[in-house]
């Protein structure tokens, strides 16, 4: 999201800055750097193209060796924008680093952007319904699964986060189980994360999640064993259940020495225990580092070999494979599964969320996907602030766990292009805002922390923002009733079916991404169709009006005419009132007909073209057609209302009425 420079607090301005093209170091563009309290803004002198970087998105600031042109500074962001600025004066360079260090490393939550006054978001969101966040009550999602029922019940045991501070305050557990069993089980599990229900399949098989048991080498807990029996009993269709430890066996063994570990199959009746090797957060972090380097060295001809070495897609494959294992157990074998890793908030969140998405088509809708993220990630305590490095604290806690989940979903979108209501842009923007700190949604590490921070009261919700520009995120190819959108998804996880996510990792490298974006033109086509359908209704009404007008003239002046059906004009002409008839005639002038007539352009400009304002370099930036003149507009111009003389596709009334209002038409 980009603001107006005038509205932002500019701290300092640096002149004579060059931006080096990352795909061709020979190309440099001259411009000005502005440092505001929240952004770094680069404005190109010639093209007026603007690059806005949130401090919160900055990942690293690197001073490169001095060159003849000045001091090069490489800025890498968490959403994979790499900018190499060459600053002519060394002193300016020091200022830049100093300002960035001061402003881009918040140490307290309340220094984050989302807690600041934001006039832009205020304008955009305050008029609509505020704070959607509260809509996502855990209870309503479980109610959707038909819960509580005679097998599963809701417990308030954790209402004050007393047994587990990283779990939600509402938990679903087997109806037959007593509180003291739950209490003891929580004591036996790492950080009190006892086995609770994540997802219930219509066949009765359940997906439950927890953390590792504190078993050490010989430890056992009778109540924990009983709890698993109760979970097993909720499903009449199977005599056993799976316990899946998503870690590699060697990691789980190492944990044993620390008094943690995994379930001993002999202690738990009728369970089948499985290790599936998804690597830990440190391995994933290192793998991403390599991947980013590999994507960045774009001239590197051995890209594929480098890609192989990062092992990134191997990790993605492991996550999808594990989720497929869960799906096959639950759907095909009617068998319940309990999933954990170490603390049950990283790998467990990934696989439970992905398995749910594969099992239940609801989670592939825009709303359902948000619910899924709220439930499996936010409420069950994925440590977003630690993993995303929202605050300047421990680097070792940072890991792209949630990004990997988004990438898995992207891989699925690629394989099943008609099965998702949301598109790739949705995932890319979601990825950005998980890091951007502009919205409160992903701030904090668990529900309790977010409550303490008063996130709901003090910040805007990302979901509301997304809702306000939902037209960017709809997959035009979504077919709700097709075979693949209605059934369990079975992804192909053979390595050749997994792709490098170019539009995320090379999002800002316009030289690498395709010049013509398929999904843009398909979206445009479907918006064009819906606009024209609206328009044809308008034309039909106008025609009918004119016909009646002509008819009225031909017949006796006193003929009764009822035009009340016409909600465009909302005019009722009473038979005897000459004045009103006149006003009707006056209303329907040629001028007006011609305004209506020209209210839409039949042939919208191809999405091949760019917005008049500047050339976008962000692959995820959306393009919209003005329905009146057919010209292409970029997201920023639309959001800033700069081009109010244009009108955007009428299919999103709410947003467009806004535009239309400011347009004064």
């Amino acid at each position: 999201m980009k603001l107006d420079l005038e509205e932002s607090n500019v701290i300092t301005k640096i002149e004579n800055v060059q931006l080096e093209d990352r795909s061709n170091s020979k190309i440099k563009t001259a411009g000005l750097l502005y440092l505001t309290i929240s952004h770094l803004v680069f404005i190109e002198t010639n093209s007026k193209r603007e690059i806005w970087i949130y401090y919160s998105l900055i990942n690293s600031i690197e001073k490169l060796p001095l060159s003849i042109n000045g001091s090069p500074i490489l800025i890498r962001t968490k959403h994979f924008l790499n900018c190499l600025f060459i600053i002519s004066k060394e002193r300016d360079c020091q200022t830049l680093v100093q300002v960035l260090n001061q402003y881009s490393r918040p140490t307290k939550y309340h220094e984050l952007l989302c807690f600041r006054e934001n006039s832009h978001l205020k304008k955009l969101l305050d008029s609509t319904h505020k704070n959607n966040q509260q809509i996502y009550h855990l209870e309503s999602e479980y109610a959707r699964m038909g819960l509580p029922n005679n097998k599963w019940t809701m417990t308030n045991l954790n209402s004050d986060y007393q047994i587990c501070d990283t779990y939600p305050n509402v938990l679903f557990v087997p109806a037959s189980v007593e509180d003291k069993i739950l209490q003891s089980s929580a004591n036996f599990r790492s950080r009190g994360r006892l086995p609770v229900l994540s997802y219930l399949h219509p066949n009765g098989a359940s997906l439950t999640r927890c953390s590792q048991p504190l078993s050490g080498f010989n430890g056992r807990c009778d109540e924990d064993e009983q709890l698993l029996q109760h979970i097993l009993m909720t499903n009449e269709n199977s005599k056993f259940m799976y316990v899946v430890d998503t870690r590699p066996k060697i990691n789980a063994m190492a944990n044993k020495a620390q008094g943690k570990g995994y379930e001993n199959e002999t202690n738990y009746k009728n369970i089948q225990f499985h290790f599936i090797g998804i690597e830990n957060i440190h391995v994933m972090r290192n793998s991403l580092d390599k991947l980013v380097k590999c994507a960045d060295s774009s001239s590197n001809s051995s890209f594929l070999t480098e890609l192989e070495k990062t092992e990134w897609l191997k990790h993605i494959k492991a996550i999808i494979d594990t989720s497929v294992f869960l799906v096959e157990a639950i759907n095909d074998q009617n068998t319940s599964v309990l999933v954990h890793c170490s603390d049950g908030w990283d790998r467990t969140a990934q696989t439970c969320a992905l398995a749910s998405l594969l099992l239940d088509p609801y989670y592939r809708s825009i709303h359902g996907f948000q619910v899924l993220i709220e439930k499996e990630w936010l409420l069950f305590g994925h440590k977003f602030s630690h993993r995303c490095g929202h605050l300047f604290e421990n680097d070792k806690e940072i890991s792209p766990i949630f990004s990997q989940f988004l990438e898995c979903v992207w891989q699925l979108q690629l394989q099943f292009p008609c099965a998702f209501e949301f598109n790739e842009t949705y995932l890319i923007k979601l990825h950005e805002h998980v890091y951007s700190c502009q919205f409160g949604t992903f701030i904090g590490n668990c529900q309790k922390e977010r409550n303490d921070l008063k996130i709901n009261e003090l910040t805007y919700s990302l979901w509301d923002y997304f809702q306000s520009k939902i037209y960017d995120f709809i997959n035009p190819l979504y077919i709700p009733n097709s075979f693949y959108s209605n059934s369990v998804l079975r992804p192909d996880t053979r390595i050749f079916s997994l792709k490098f996510w170019r539009s995320l990792y090379n999002r800002f490298d316009s030289a690498i991404n395709p010049s013509e974006k398929l999904i843009d033109s398909v979206s445009m086509l479907s918006y064009n169709t819906s606009s024209l359908q609206e328009y044809s209704k308008l034309l039909e009404k106008r025609c009918a009006q004119l016909k009646k007008l002509i008819q009225l003239n031909k017949n006796d002046e006193n003929v009764l005419i009822d035009l009340s059906e016409d909600d465009f004009e909302k005019i009722e002409i009473s038979d005897k009132n000459e004045n009103e008839k006149k006003s009707f005639e006056k209303k329907l002038t040629l001028d007006e007909i011609s305004i209506d007539f020209n209210s839409i352009d039949l042939n919208w400009k191809s999405t091949r073209k760019n917005c008049v304002c500047y050339e976008p370099f962000d692959f995820a930036s959306s393009k919209l057609n003005c329905s009146r003149c057919g010209e292409i507009l970029c997201e920023r111009c639309v959001e800033n209302g700069k081009y109010v003389s244009h009108s955007i596709s009428p299919h999103l009334e709410q947003f467009n009425f806004e535009l239309a209002k400011s347009n004064g038409s």
């Binding site: 774009s298 001239s299 001809s301 890209f303 594929l304 070999t305 192989e308 394989q415 292009p417 008609c418 190819l477 077919i479 097709s482 075979f483 693949y484 059934s487 079975r490 192909d492 053979r494 390595i495 050749f496 079916s497 792709k499 170019r502 030289a511 690498i512 991404n513 395709p514 010049s515 013509e516 398929l518 033109s521 398909v522 086509l525 479907s526 169709t529 024209l532 359908q533 328009y535 044809s536 034309l539 025609c543 004119l546 016909k547 007008l549 002509i550 009225l552 003239n553 005639e585 006056k586 329907l588 002038t589 040629l590 001028d591 007909i593 007539f597 039949l602 191809s606 999405t607 091949r608």
Partner: protein, 565 residues
């Protein structure tokens, strides 16, 4: 020789055939096992399953010439033949006895390796459709000439018929475009100085900038350092004032000495002062064949190190290099003042690849279906790309002569990469390219028979076989090949050539491994969206006209206030 002499055993019963098929519901490959009889005919291997009450009879037809390689695995207990097809399909056949297995193997080896052009399938498929001469004459040099030079009088170029009897250059077409003020005698001299008699001829003329691409074979300097005044004159005359000439030699500079010692060579700066020579490496067709085999191997045995294997196959290197070189040429022609002569060794392979790709970038016409067919005719068929030799074997097979090399497959893949990067700018779709691939190796149509126009004429291809374009132009078929989102793009297109920008051609190279159904569903949805959009537009047009008429009527009747207008 008669086909029947090659078939020892026309029918074997109690045969088992294994193949992998896609289970769409589970989205995975399953091995299908079929029982039945195997029959050999002159052009087909036909497997017919045993009639069974539960299952309907199934037939598998395999054209002999579609078989790329056969591997026999005969042990005491097993008599198995593995059939690898040129389209990457693989079958396993279990025979009841070693004798049958050997006999069928022997027959298939002969039948799938027939070199006699006259015995090839298209000559036996005249009934698939009426032979349409118009389709055979779809392309003509005059057509290109008119497109390049709408005004003949002011043109500096002419059509020469010097090769009318294919004597000067057997691999050239009858007519070629050459500079106007070069006479035929000079062409003859030049042809004697160029490899395979391939003197410089016009390949493409860019009207917007009056720049052009010529192509030829390498000059035959030899160790005695010969020169040819007429050849030099052609290049001198061709180049208008103010233009910079570039000889694009698609061979590494390090190899030129070897070329000279073998009687070939390069254009020396002394003799061609207006032309700057640039050497750019492209893998030769035989190396490309190895690359192709490695690529397909990676796709089929891809359990580990898939990306590493892809990389070492060098297939992507070749795509990048081809797109990069054509990009450079297009940039010079469109944005600067460059004119080009392209050649490698004989000018039969990479030369055509680069010149045709450059045209696709430069010329919007070549991105239409008809224009693309013209391009294939002009730059590949008429230009003498040896189709018969290059596509005798696919990724699994080789012949001792080592004449195979998938240059045209690389071309199709490059075009597909462009289609993907410019999804609105091409009138044809990926299915069209895959159809071309399939007909390249095995076809019922005569288009890709022979190695050049000369051979095709001797074989009477146009009167004895059906043209592939007859199939394409059929109303039912053409629909399958049209990109519904196509909007003419008059600009030059500038492709991305980073490895990240390229993709593996899954729908071709992994065609028997991946489930294409979800993607087909998406394609159908796009077609549907386009159709709905069109319907609405028609409706709106109609309503607009109706409204205008009513408006007029209302004004005439005096009921509509027109004061404000």
């Amino acid at each position: 020789m008669d086909f029947m002499d090659l078939i020892e055993m026309p029918r074997v019963d109690n045969v088992k055939v294994y193949r992998q098929i896609q289970n769409y519901e589970l989205n995975q490959l399953v091995t299908q096992k079929l029982f039945g009889s195997l029959n050999l005919t002159s052009h087909h291997l036909i497997f017919i399953t045993q009639t069974d009450l539960q299952k309907p009879r199934e037939e598998i037809w395999i054209v002999h010439s579609s078989i790329d390689s056969l591997e026999k695995n005969v042990t005491e207990a097993k008599f198995q033949l593995m059939i690898k097809c040129k389209n990457f399909q693989i079958y396993f056949v279990d025979f009841p006895t070693a004798y049958c297995c050997n006999s069928i193997h022997k027959s298939l080896e002969s039948l799938s390796n027939l070199t006699t052009e006259n015995m090839k399938l298209p000559f036996f498929c005249q009934t698939i459709s009426k032979i349409n001469q118009e389709d055979w004459n779809f392309y003509s040099i005059e057509k290109s000439y008119k497109r390049f030079f709408p005004n003949e009088d002011s043109s500096e170029w002419r059509i020469s018929e010097i090769n009318n009897d294919f004597k000067i250059s057997p691999s050239y077409p009858k007519k070629v475009i050459v500079p106007k003020n070069i006479d035929d005698q000079a062409l003859i001299k030049s042809s004697q100085f160029r490899s395979m008699g391939r003197f410089p001829i016009l390949s493409y003329y860019h009207k917007k900038t009056n720049s052009f691409i010529l192509r030829s074979g390498q000059p035959l300097l030899g160790s005695s350092n010969k020169r040819c005044k007429e050849d030099e004159l052609i290049l001198k005359c061709a180049l208008p004032k103010g233009k910079q000439g570039y000889v694009y030699d698609l061979r590494d500079a390090s190899i030129l000495k070897t070329a000279v010692s073998k009687g070939g060579g390069y254009e020396t700066e002394v003799n061609y002062p207006l032309w700057k020579r640039i050497n750019k490496h492209m893998d030769r067709f035989d190396q490309l064949h190895i690359s192709y085999s490695k690529l397909i191997d990676a796709c089929i045995n891809s359990s580990t190190q898939f990306f590493y294997k892809l990389d070492t196959s060098a297939w992507f290197y070749n795509i990048r290099q081809a797109l990069y070189l054509s990009f450079l040429i297009a940039d010079e022609i469109h944005n600067k003042n460059g004119c080009f002569l392209i050649h490698g060794w004989d000018g039969l392979d990479n030369t055509l690849l680069i010149s045709s790709l450059a045209q696709i970038l430069l010329d919007p016409e070549s991105r239409t279906l008809d224009g693309f067919i013209d391009l294939i005719e002009k730059e590949w068929l008429h230009a003498g790309h040896p189709f018969s030799k290059r596509y005798f074997k696919s990724a699994f097979g080789t012949t001792p002569q080592k004449q195979e090399g998938p240059v045209f497959v690389l071309f199709l893949d490059c075009v597909r990469q462009l289609c993907e990067q410019f999804c609105l700018s091409f009138e044809f779709n990926e299915d069209f390219l895959i159809m071309l691939f399939d007909n390249l190796y095995t076809s019922e149509y005569g288009t890709f028979l022979g190695n050049n126009q000369n051979e095709r004429e001797q074989l009477l291809v146009s009167s004895r076989t059906v043209s592939l374009w007859t199939y394409v132009k059929n109303e039912e078929n053409i629909k399958k090949f049209i990109n519904p989102l196509y909007k003419i793009n008059d600009d030059v297109i500038w492709p991305s050539i980073f490895t990240q920008s390229l993709s593996l051609w899954s729908n071709l190279f992994l065609r028997f491994q991946i489930n294409s159904k979800p993607n087909d569903e998406a394609k159908k949805e796009i077609v549907k969206l386009v159709e709905t959009n069109l319907q609405v537009k028609i409706k709106v047009e109609k309503l607009r006209n109706e409204l205008l008429e009513l408006q007029k009527e209302a004004i005439d009747a005096g009921v509509l206030n027109s004061e404000n207008y």
